[in-house]
Structure formats: structure tokens, C-alpha cells
Symmetry: C2
Subunit: 349 residues, 2 copies
């Protein structure tokens, strides 16, 4: 009996050692995880004939600057959260995109912005909706996530919070761009109160000449295999009633989960809310075992498009695969990976 | 050759007839779909020793009245959308629950309310967040869904919309209850600014003596097999910064999809946002082929609880199965089905 026990003990000891070896192997694998960052600057009727070569060059340059900023954070061993935040800052500070400085104007002629960020490691998240005069709304969202018990703050309350936490504010003049002012006047002339009604208003076509989907987003995976996603936007030109779109909604505009992937969306926000687009991609990946590319494609073409919505999504899965897709003419987008790949694209092909 | 063609034609005709028969069978089945409604009036530290027998009787009576109201709509062939809206109205008009008249007070001593509704047939949805003085926030959410292109409106803008669409407003005095005022003073005395900080604030335990999860929700399936879900709340006592909880977030507090189920949540909202609790239940049902009961259980105990959250969910699946679960001491809840079942419960057992 004693001999039998000894054999059992040796067997258990052997198993424990075996387990330890497995763990250290896993650690080595985690350390080898490649890192990557992917960004978008909005999807819409982005066609070569609408964009001058100077503007295209400026957009490509800014997308590259944004990618490089996040990539440098990752390369230096920084977190994916810091990478996506700093990357978004570059795009928020540019007048080229519908976020921060370049945000579109609401029906009162003001920039009313939304942003959200999510940590795929802890599932922590932060969001601000309908904020005015905050230079970088994504910074306020990050502070909500890191500092207080809530996930989502809105309007005046979010601004009070941001002031208390020393987020940078800017005067209206900082956000004013002639381009956005002209867009607003054009849309106001075209759409009266009647056309705001659901029955006669077509979200998909009524803004089609406005290239309006300039929302910015970033997703990154760092050297520790942690995924983060972030989105920042000015929403829709001429929006009313303190409308909240998908960008500040966790699971619609932004989602990150180390078990699956990180996602940032851009497009007709209402359809991304109704389909929980970002969370749905994660679940297609997790439960239906589809690739990230197929998951994104399925949600855009089989769920959002049949409802009448359009736009695009970018993502990175837990194995550092980068993917994107969109059902619009184009999407400002790019990625940079530790494997050396660096891609920037604007049009469909 | 001609004879062969004739045989083929007969075969095709036979197949078409067979298909037709199948379809009519399906139609008969749809017509036979039982209808049902399930409600909650919040989850929390609801224990027998904390509640007087008079209060328990009043709560049971109001839950029954709410159930009967929605059930009557369904019995008369009305839509599940109308059923959940009218059911929620009964609870919003009662001071017993944290919604409408009985809503808790924010840090300024005002009732700041959220509500959302979703149509499982069309995936249409409507929500209002951070609204004041609206008697029945769920009615405003329904009008957002039915009338305009947006899904989610907030703050002053949502109120402007509601006024334009003739939603009923009430003075502050209507919403004032001494019980909520006392709760606010108690919490204010207990929690200073420092305890608002994430590091030292425990969402799960710090309000434990407040029975605070009085959010109301309803899910119904009608005679046409259409599922609808709705949620209405005053959020957290002493909330600041125009915090938005899970109740007005489609996929977190409310979700409905005829392909799977309808869900309404109640609890520590931040955790339901981070897990996309309502949408996650739907996907567990749809992709993992779990029963509704198991799906709800899994999301609460394996996803929300490990993060530190608590609360409950109610739901009805496409086969009119009713289910609920919660990880708190109790949840005000009940259901009524066309099979004759009528159940009202408060405590765990």
C-alpha cells in the first residue's frame, strides 16, 4: 500500500513539473506576440475623383504620422491603451478628420463630440458623449476609465469631470473650419424639419455628398498581448437633440477583449448601435470561430447593410491579425506591424 | 424526350405543392405561438427582514397590475412593443420603483432618468439618457424609435425632442419622495469626493444598504411571435457628471431580436455595459445554442460577477420560454403566460 502511495506521489510530482514546463512555454509564447496598430479616419463616399492629389497626400501623411506615433509606443514596450490614445490624439488634432479640431458642426453650429476607449485585458472602459470644447475627447474617455467608477459620462457633467481632471479645453474658434461651416449650411438648406422625420429621411443617401464619416479610430495589440480599441468623433453634421451615435457606445463603436479582438467602427452610427457591431464581431470570432476578416465582413454585409446602414470597421485579433472591411466607396485606413508591414489605403482597391 | 420533360414538370409541381404545405404548417405554428410577458422591478439586497409585510403586499400588487396591463394588450392581439411600454408606465407611475415617479435623486437632488426600448422584429430601437421632468421616459424612448432617424438622445436635446412630440412633463415636486431624499442624504454623508474615486469605491458593497437597484424592465412576445424589450430607471442615487448607466444602452440594459430573445437588465450598470450583457445573452442563445435560462445564468455568474458586478436579467426567447436569474439577494419579478401561468416573486427562493 505504501509503495503504491509512493508511486502516486511520484506521478503527481511529475505532473506538476510537466505543468510548470507548459506554463513557461506559454510565457515565452506571450513574449513573442507580435505587436501591431490599425487605424481608420472614417468611411464614406471617398472616391478618387472627389479628392485632390494635394488633399490625398495630406491625408496619407497624417495617417502615417498617426500610425508611427502609436507604433513607437508599442515598440518601446508601452501599452496598447497608450498607443491608441496617442494615435487618436494625432487625428483629433488635425482638421482633416471628423474628430477634435476637424469635428463637424451640429445644428447649432457647434462641435459636439463623442469618444470611447476600452481595455481588452480588464474589460474596463470609458466614454464621453456630447461634449463641447474638449480638445481631445479621447483623453477625457481615458480618464473616465482610469479614475472613476462610471463608464459613460455625458454633456455638461462630462465637461465638469474633464475640467476637474485637467483635460485641455479650447475656445470655439479652435474647432471652427470653413469646410465644416459650409457643409452645415449646405445640409441646412437641403434638409428642413420635415426631412428629419424617419419616414422621409434616408440616413444612407441624404448625406452622401458630404464624405461625412470622418470618425477616427485605432486598435492595437502590445508586446504583452493586450488589446485596446478607441474611437473619437464629431458625429453627424447638423445633428440635433443631443443625439448620441455609436462612437461612445461600448460594443457598438468600440470594443476590446483579449480573448477575441479589438474593434473600432465608423459609419451610420444608428445601425452600428442596433447591431452591436463591434461586440457582434467579437462574438462571431469567439463563438462561431470565424476569422476576424470574415467576422467583420459578415457583420457589415449580412447585418448592417440589410438594415440600410453603411460604414466600416477595423480590428486586430488576439493573434495580432489585422483586418478591415467596409461597404462604402472608401475608408481612410492603415496599419503597421512588428513584422515590418506598413500599409495605408484610401479607396476600395 | 417530351415524356421525360413532362415527368420533370410533374416532379417540380409536386415539390412546389410540398413546399406550400410546409409554409402553411409554419404559418399555423406561428399563429399558435403562445404569448407572454415578464417584468422586473430591480434587483438588490432585497431580503425579507428588510421589507415590511405591508410594503411587500404593495409591491406584489403593483407588479401584478403591471403584468396584467401588458398581458391585456397581448391578449387583445396588440404588439409586444405596446405591451412592454404600457407595463413600464405602470411601474414608472408608482413611487415603489426607481423609475419615473419613484426615481432616485442624483447628487443635485434631482431625478435624472434613462430609458430604452427595442423591437425584436425590425431591430429598431429608441433611447433617452439623462432626462429630467419627463413623466414616463419610456414613452420618449418609444417616440425616438418611431419618429426620427436617431436611436439615442440625451439631456436637454432629448427633452426638447420630447416637448416637440408632446410627451408629458411633470414638476420636480411630482418626482419628490421623502424616501429618496433620505437615501441621498445618507449616501452623501457616507461618501465624500474621495470615495468617488475608482480605487477606493466599491460599487458592489457601498450602496448595499440602499436596495438601490429599482430599475424597471419588461419583455414580451406577442401573438405574432414578435419580441420587444424595454427598461426605465433613475440610475444611481447621488450620481454625478451626467453618468449614463446600462438602461438606455441597447445591448447592455435592453435587447430584443426575434431570432433569439428579448432581455432587460438591472444591477450595477457599468458591469452590464462592459459585458454587453443583454446582447451577450442573445448571442449565447444564438451561437452557443444554450437555453435562455443557461445563457442568462452564464452571463451573470461567469461574466458579470467575476468583474465585481451584480444584478439580474429577465428574458423571453423566440419559443416564448420565460427565464430570469440574478446574483443578488432578491429581484422584484413576475411573469404571465397565455398558458395560464402567473408568477410573482421577490426573494431568492
Amino acid at each position: 500500500m505504501l509503495r503504491f502511495q509512493t508511486i502516486i506521489y511520484i506521478f503527481i510530482a511529475f505532473q506538476l513539473t510537466a505543468c510548470k514546463n507548459d506554463t513557461s512555454k506559454e510565457n515565452i509564447e506571450i513574449k513573442k506576440t507580435p505587436f501591431a496598430i490599425v487605424i481608420h479616419g472614417g468611411a464614406g463616399t471617398i472616391k478618387k475623383e472627389y479628392i485632390s492629389s494635394e488633399k490625398e497626400a495630406a491625408i496619407r501623411q497624417k495617417l502615417q504620422e498617426a500610425l508611427n506615433t502609436g507604433y513607437l509606443v508599442l515598440e518601446n514596450g508601452g501599452s496598447s491603451l497608450d498607443a491608441v490614445q496617442k494615435t487618436i490624439n494625432v487625428m483629433e488634432n488635425s482638421p482633416l478628420f471628423n474628430a477634435g479640431k476637424g469635428a463637424v458642426l451640429n445644428s447649432d453650429g457647434k462641435t459636439e463630440m463623442d469618444a470611447s476607449i476600452m481595455d481588452g485585458n480588464t474589460l474596463n472602459a470609458g466614454a464621453v458623449a456630447g461634449v463641447f470644447n474638449i480638445k481631445n475627447p479621447i483623453n477625457a474617455a481615458r480618464l473616465v476609465m482610469d479614475s472613476i467608477k462610471h463608464v459613460m459620462l455625458s454633456g455638461k457633467g462630462a465637461e465638469t469631470f474633464a475640467k476637474k481632471y485637467n483635460v485641455q479645453f479650447e475656445e470655439d474658434a479652435y474647432f471652427f473650419t470653413e469646410r465644416r461651416w459650409n457643409s452645415l449650411q449646405k445640409i441646412k438648406a437641403k434638409h428642413n424639419e420635415k426631412t428629419f422625420n424617419k419616414a422621409v429621411y434616408n440616413l444612407k443617401t441624404d448625406f452622401v455628398d458630404e464624405h461625412k464619416y470622418g470618425t477616427v479610430g485605432a486598435v492595437a495589440i502590445d508586446k504583452n498581448g493586450n488589446i485596446a480599441a478607441a474611437t473619437s468623433t464629431g458625429g453627424l453634421t447638423n445633428k440635433k437633440y443631443n443625439r448620441i451615435g455609436d462612437s461612445p457606445i461600448i460594443g457598438a463603436g468600440t470594443y476590446a477583449n483579449n480573448k477575441s479582438c479589438g474593434i473600432s467602427s465608423t459609419g451610420t452610427g444608428e445601425f452600428f448601435i442596433r447591431t452591436l457591431a463591434a461586440h457582434e464581431v467579437s462574438n462571431q470570432f469567439l463563438y462561431k470561430k470565424l476569422s476576424l476578416k470574415k467576422s467583420i465582413h459578415d457583420v457589415i454585409f449580412n447585418q448592417i447593410e440589410p438594415l440600410g446602414g453603411d460604414g466600416g470597421m477595423i480590428g486586430i485579433d488576439k493573434n495580432a491579425n489585422v483586418a478591415w472591411d467596409f461597404n462604402t466607396a472608401g475608408m481612410y485606413r492603415g496599419y503597421k506591424k512588428s513584422t515590418g508591414e506598413n500599409v495605408i489605403k484610401i479607396y476600395k482597391k
